[in-house]
């Protein structure tokens, strides 16, 4: 009996894997025929902040000193809108009581109810908001800032849907070196703190009690620009980077262990790329001219195309795409 060689075995497995992938793509295309809802928003500056609410989504658009807050149903249908006054660094997140505004005021981090202005939480020694400061999904929200006393990344967090656990807390990233960039991303029930020091980008997953480590990292030259980041529980984090020398942009999937699984070129040129985890193994990406889903194997799924720079949020199998003055929801993954 001939023993198959390693090459033969590899070819057989590759053929099987290719056939399985093709079948999976065909199935996902057939079941992802999405129900979309488009709702026009009034003309304004189109750079939205998006967050998840228990009942749907919220969007915020800056108009001078004011934020215009939109409350949307899970279908994207317009429910309510109102204006609030907030600082320039303010970010919106969703909570059981509705949208929250996070901002730094006179060295204190403040979390306020957007509608009533009632103070939810306040922490001293806040230096500045992180570069990607807000994370929001249907489980938890988090807002990250740099503390002035220990230069640590702190995140104030709470549950999106359960009012019984509304106590906010601080979770510190265990690194004391100067950070050139910091951010937070939702990853299922966890939050992932990200920060750059020197030529490395660090990741630390935090549950509702602590940032448990181990801290993982990848090499990212200081000259490269980090355009966006989103995380999931199982697939790791998807980051968008621009090479400091060539200007080439790419999406990089970083595994939860800190390895680079794949790199995908990104043609659309922008200073920020909106990325969120969608489900536990896929991501929604908003780049100029398109929004698309991409899973841990790198399989792409177009979600929206147009002329605007879309921003994305994901909740319960639906992706909200805010583009121009319109909100569209698409089912994904």
């Amino acid at each position: 009996m001939r023993v198959p060689s390693i090459a033969d075995t590899a070819r057989t497995w590759l053929a099987l894997a290719a056939a399985t992938s093709a079948l999976a793509v065909a199935v996902s295309v057939s079941v992802s025929v999405s129900v979309s809802a488009s709702v026009s928003a009034p003309a304004s500056e189109p750079a939205y902040q998006l967050a998840v609410l228990p009942t749907g989504f919220t969007a915020a658009a800056r108009r001078g000193r004011q934020f215009q807050i939109y409350e949307l149903a899970a279908s994207g249908a317009h429910l309510d809108e109102y204006a609030v006054t907030a600082n320039a660094d303010a970010r919106v997140v969703g909570s059981p009581g509705g949208p929250l505004i996070a901002q730094i005021s006179r060295g204190r981090f403040e979390l306020l109810h957007a509608r009533s202005g009632e103070l939810v939480a306040s922490f001293a020694n806040a230096s500045r908001m992180c570069d990607t400061p807000a994370a929001s999904n249907d489980v938890r929200y988090g807002v990250a800032y740099l503390a002035s006393d220990d230069n640590n990344v702190h995140v104030v967090h709470g549950e999106t849907s359960r009012p019984a656990t509304a106590s906010d807390d601080e979770l510190a990233a265990p690194a004391r070196r100067p950070k050139s960039w910091c951010g937070v991303a939702s990853a299922g029930r966890d939050l992932v703190l990200l920060w750059r020091t020197g030529d490395r980008l660090y990741f630390n997953a935090c549950n509702d009690r602590s940032c448990r480590g181990p801290v993982t990292s990848i090499r990212l030259p200081a000259s490269d620009k980090l355009l966006g980041a989103g995380c999931t529980e199982r697939a790791g984090c998807l980051i968008a980077t621009r090479d400091g020398g060539t200007g080439a942009q790419q999406l990089v999937l970083v595994t939860p262990a800190g390895g680079v699984k794949w790199r995908h070129p990104l043609d659309a040129r922008a200073d920020t790329i909106s990325i969120v985890g969608a489900g536990d193994r896929a991501f929604a990406v908003g780049a100029p001219g398109s929004a698309f889903g991409i899973d841990r194997d790198g399989t792409l799924m177009p979600l929206w195309t147009g002329d605007a720079e879309p921003v994305v949020a994901a909740s319960r199998g639906r992706v909200l795409v805010a583009h121009g003055h319109t909100f569209t929801t698409v089912s994904y993954p």
């Binding site: 004391r176 020197g198 997953a205 790791g236 595994t255 939860p256 800190g258 390895g259």
Partner: protein, 160 residues
């Protein structure tokens, strides 16, 4: 006529005043890190006048070298995407920790025999509390001393 007892301590050296019970560096490996415990074991081998100090030194060097090699292996497995999930990473790092603690325990057991013989000979020992306290306080600074992911894998102990 001369005779040699197998575990008879060497004559006291200038380091004799620094001798501590080997349990102290072993404790340091757990609460401070191996950056402190293995050099401390090495100094203590001379302070105690241990006849097995070459083996103890070899184990200390093997502790550092083995941790570095295992760390490089873990990073290679991450790079090749053999280790992808956080759980598998934690298990791999647990393997490195086990090696480090095993190396420390081996040095401690070797040194304990010499220490007991040294104590029988009436040599005094130092109280290790101050070193342990300082080591515990500066461990975070040591952790951040080198900005390379291999560094904490090699030098840190059970507390971090």
């Amino acid at each position: 006529m001369t005779y040699q007892i197998a575990d008879e301590p060497f004559p006291p050296t200038r380091l004799a005043d620094l001798a501590v019970r080997p349990g102290a560096p072993l404790l340091a490996s757990m609460i401070c890190g191996h950056w402190l415990s293995w050099p401390w074991f090495a100094i203590n081998a001379y302070a105690v006048g241990s006849p097995t100090r070459r083996r103890e030194l070899a184990w200390c060097i093997a502790g550092f070298a083995g941790s570095a090699l295992l760390g490089v292996l873990v990073f290679a497995l991450i790079r090749w995407n053999v280790i992808e999930s956080r759980v598998s990473l934690e298990v791999a790092l647990l393997g490195v920790s086990t090696w480090k603690l095993a190396a420390s325990y081996r040095v401690a057991t070797l040194q304990e025999r010499s220490f007991n013989a040294s104590a029988q000979a009436g040599r005094g020992t130092r109280n290790p509390r101050a070193v342990l306290a300082v080591g515990f306080l500066v461990r975070a600074t040591i952790y951040h001393l080198v900005d390379h992911p291999l560094w904490p894998i090699i030098i840190m102990g059970g507390a971090l």
